[in-house]
């Protein structure tokens, strides 16, 4: 099929066309090498292949069309931003580009060198003019999940208006009250930019749409418990990544269809690997597109990733918003409750996360856990110690990895991961 020429649209969005062409060429090659080289992929993944190929094309065109109709696009970086409120006013919530080592020279003009790769990446994408999503956004929403992001948003705000939500650091009643205040204030902000009121009717629909998406992802997750797993960890990660920027209704439908296929596979004992392939639970920092480095190394070293204890994974899909609320207040309370359950490493104490990781390891029959944190991500790198200790108590082998988006440590990581798998196999 002839690719449509999106250059006029990209130009209109103020993208740096030359740099953007290079980015797409690199991404296309990486996707081919990492994704299309996999064997025995489910047919349902073709939809995801298509979405990826049109991530900067058709999907952006859709966003521009919805904007023409007066609907708003809200760009986010975190699972803490309540998508339900954005959906309620007919808006679209999109995750912004933050997964590639790009625009580093630009980013380092405003950020210190020793900054987490994700922060450097989103700043680089913005300053180098390479992310069509942030260009198309009517509002960017940041949050105070870590010091790096918090301070970076102050700088990002100079280039694109950034609204920041305050995330509490503990889970007491006082913290809940603070978060409730944030949700209510965000609701008002969303109403203001959309020029539309949030009503019980449209919020109920927003909650349902977001929950349906999570339900589809939960179903996918459950199907990966089958031995052998009917889908690779790389493909499942991709589904979770695309969940952040695809149209939610179409996405949900496509993932349910994918799950039907996986269910058939599981029933017939069809998997993407052999029965005795070591099963790995990934845990830690989120992996944004195209950060596929660690799962790629794991899965090309003879293991399979069966779950992601991460914001791009279980942390974003585990909990639903209660749907039985009658009044707007009920629904707001339900949203507040749901988001307070997120076990981000920015909380203290965060024992529930250790419990969740143990549960996941057990439920998914993981042979080992690989804890990954982005270098300079203090919350996750500090918490890695407690995670490892908690897992060791249960006799679950754990490998801690600290890395970034660069490839210069790939050789050493491969040796460490292979040695870990040798250990797990016994």
């Amino acid at each position: 099929m002839e690719q449509k020429d999106y250059r006029p649209m990209w130009k209109e969005l103020g993208l740096n066309l030359e740099g953007h062409d290079q980015l797409l060429a690199v991404l296309g090659k990486a996707y081919k090498d990492i994704y299309l080289s996999q064997e025995n992929r489910p047919k349902g993944m073709q939809y995801l292949d298509f979405v990826i190929s049109e991530a900067h094309g058709l999907r952006i065109e859709e966003l521009m069309e919805t904007k023409k109709k007066g609907n708003k696009v809200v760009g986010t970086f975190c699972v803490y931003v309540p998508e339900e409120l954005i959906l309620a006013v007919g808006g679209t919530c999109v995750g912004l580009c933050a997964g590639a080592e790009i625009g580093i020279d630009e980013a380092e003009k405003v950020l210190p060198r020793n900054t987490c790769a994700l922060i450097k990446s989103f700043m680089g994408f913005k300053l180098a003019g390479l992310c069509p999503y942030i260009q198309a956004s009517d509002l960017v929403v940041g949050e105070t999940t870590c010091d790096g992001k918090k301070k970076a948003y102050e700088i990002l705000n100079d280039y694109k208006e950034t609204y920041v939500m305050e995330i509490p650091q503990m889970k007491t009643e006082r913290d809940r009250a603070l978060w409730r205040g944030e949700v209510v204030q965000f609701k008002e902000k969303v109403e203001e930019i959309a020029g539309r009121r949030i009503t019980p009717e449209n919020l109920r629909q927003g909650i349902k749409t977001a929950n349906d998406k999570r339900r589809a992802l939960q179903r996918l997750s459950t199907l990966r418990k089958a031995i052998p797993s009917p889908i690779s960890g790389l493909d499942a990660l991709l589904v979770n990544q695309i969940a952040f920027y695809d149209d939610p209704l179409r996405f949900t439908k496509s993932i349910q269809a994918l799950c039907d296929e996986l269910e058939d596979r599981a029933k017939n004992g069809v998997g993407v690997v052999k029965n005795r392939t070591p099963r790995i639970l990934m845990s830690g920092s989120p992996m944004a597109v195209p950060n596929w480095k660690i799962p790629f190394i794991v899965e090309t070293s003879g293991a399979i990733v069966v779950a992601e204890e991460s914001c791009v994974g279980e942390r974003s899909t585990r909990d639903l918003v209660k749907e039985d609320g009658k009044t707007l207040d009920d629904m707001i309370e339900a949203i507040v409750d749901r988001y307070m359950k997120i076990d981000c490493a920015c909380f203290t104490p965060n024992e529930e996360r250790i419990g969740h990781i143990r549960d996941l390891a057990k439920e998914f029959k993981a042979d080992g856990v690989i804890h990954y944190n982005i270098q300079f991500c203090t919350p996750y790198s500090m918490e890695a110690y407690k995670v490892e200790k908690g897992l060791q108590q249960k006799g679950i082998p754990t490998l801690k990895i600290e890395s970034d988006y660069g490839m210069e440590d790939a050789g050493q990581l491969k040796t460490r991961i292979e040695a870990f798998l040798e250990m797990v196999r016994g």
Binding site: D409, G411, T415, E422, G426
Partner: protein, 250 residues
């Protein structure tokens, strides 16, 4: 059965042939710019029924010859255990990696740590600094043993350490004391890696850097333990791989 282990390291390639649990042949070549050619040359000099590859270049070898591979970590653990049956800890310092490995009673790897990405404190680091000080690599450790005092070296990055050493010489510091300081710095770094896994007896020091007498001495002195080093510590990985190859067919 004659099995071979080939350890394709960043600096040298080692080939060991084992028969009946004994090392019957060992060969070593520079890795050079064409490691596969060097591998072929080594393999042409001996014979074996089966071969298993390890080391930095194992994947290259695997693709070329379609043979099984193991990581250096498993290979060194196996090799050390075969030579020193009571071994529980292995420190392996090779050309560009340092690894600390803890073994359980049976000899399986129970924990390991390795340097993340930088070659600080490894063989290549020693080579570069020895050259800066005007020593060849074989005399470097011996010369460093001749003094008691050492000059503190603060930088472990090869590039920075080299300029640090250069400026220390310019300030008239004794060459042997700088050499001793460099060894001390490598020891400190290796110890922190070791402490993260275990320092349980018996401790085996392996890899090319284990040939350095000053490091062997400092390690034993600091830990207050006997450090076991085989006559050719750089062969332990290839030997371990050959031993694993013995067990594969069973």
């Amino acid at each position: 059965m004659r099995t071979a282990g080939i350890d394709i390291g960043s600096r040298t390639i080692k080939l060991v042939v084992v028969e009946g649990g004994e090392m019957v042949s060992s060969l070593l070549e520079e890795t050079s710019h064409d490691p596969l050619e060097q591998c072929k040359r080594l393999m042409g000099q001996t014979y074996f029924d089966r071969i298993l590859a390890t080391g930095y270049g194992r994947h290259l070898f695997e693709i070329q010859f379609d043979v099984p591979i193991v990581t250096e970590i498993k290979a060194f653990a196996r090799g050390a255990k075969a030579i020193f049956p009571k071994c529980r800890t292995v420190l392996d310092i090779g050309g560009q990696d340092t690894k600390a490995i803890a073994l359980d009673e049976k000899g399986s790897v129970s924990r390991f740590e390795m340097n993340d990405r930088c070659a600080a404190g490894t063989g290549i680091f020693l080579e570069v600094i020895a050259k800066t000080l005007g020593y060849n690599i074989d005399e470097f450790g011996i010369e460093a043993m001749k003094v008691q005092e050492n000059v503190q070296i603060n930088s472990m990055c090869t590039v920075f350490a080299q300029s640090e050493v250069t400026s220390l010489m310019a300030r008239g510091k004794k060459r042997e004391e700088i050499a001793r300081g460099v060894h001390q710095a490598i020891l400190t770094r290796s110890l922190s890696l070791l402490k993260r896994v275990s320092i349980e007896k018996e401790i085996v020091f392996a890899g090319g850097v284990a040939r350095n007498p000053c490091l062997r001495f400092l390690l034993a002195e600091t830990l207050g333990e006997k450090i076991l080093v085989s006559p050719n510590p750089q062969l332990i990985g290839a030997f371990g791989a050959a031993m694993i190859a013995q067990e594969l067919g069973k």
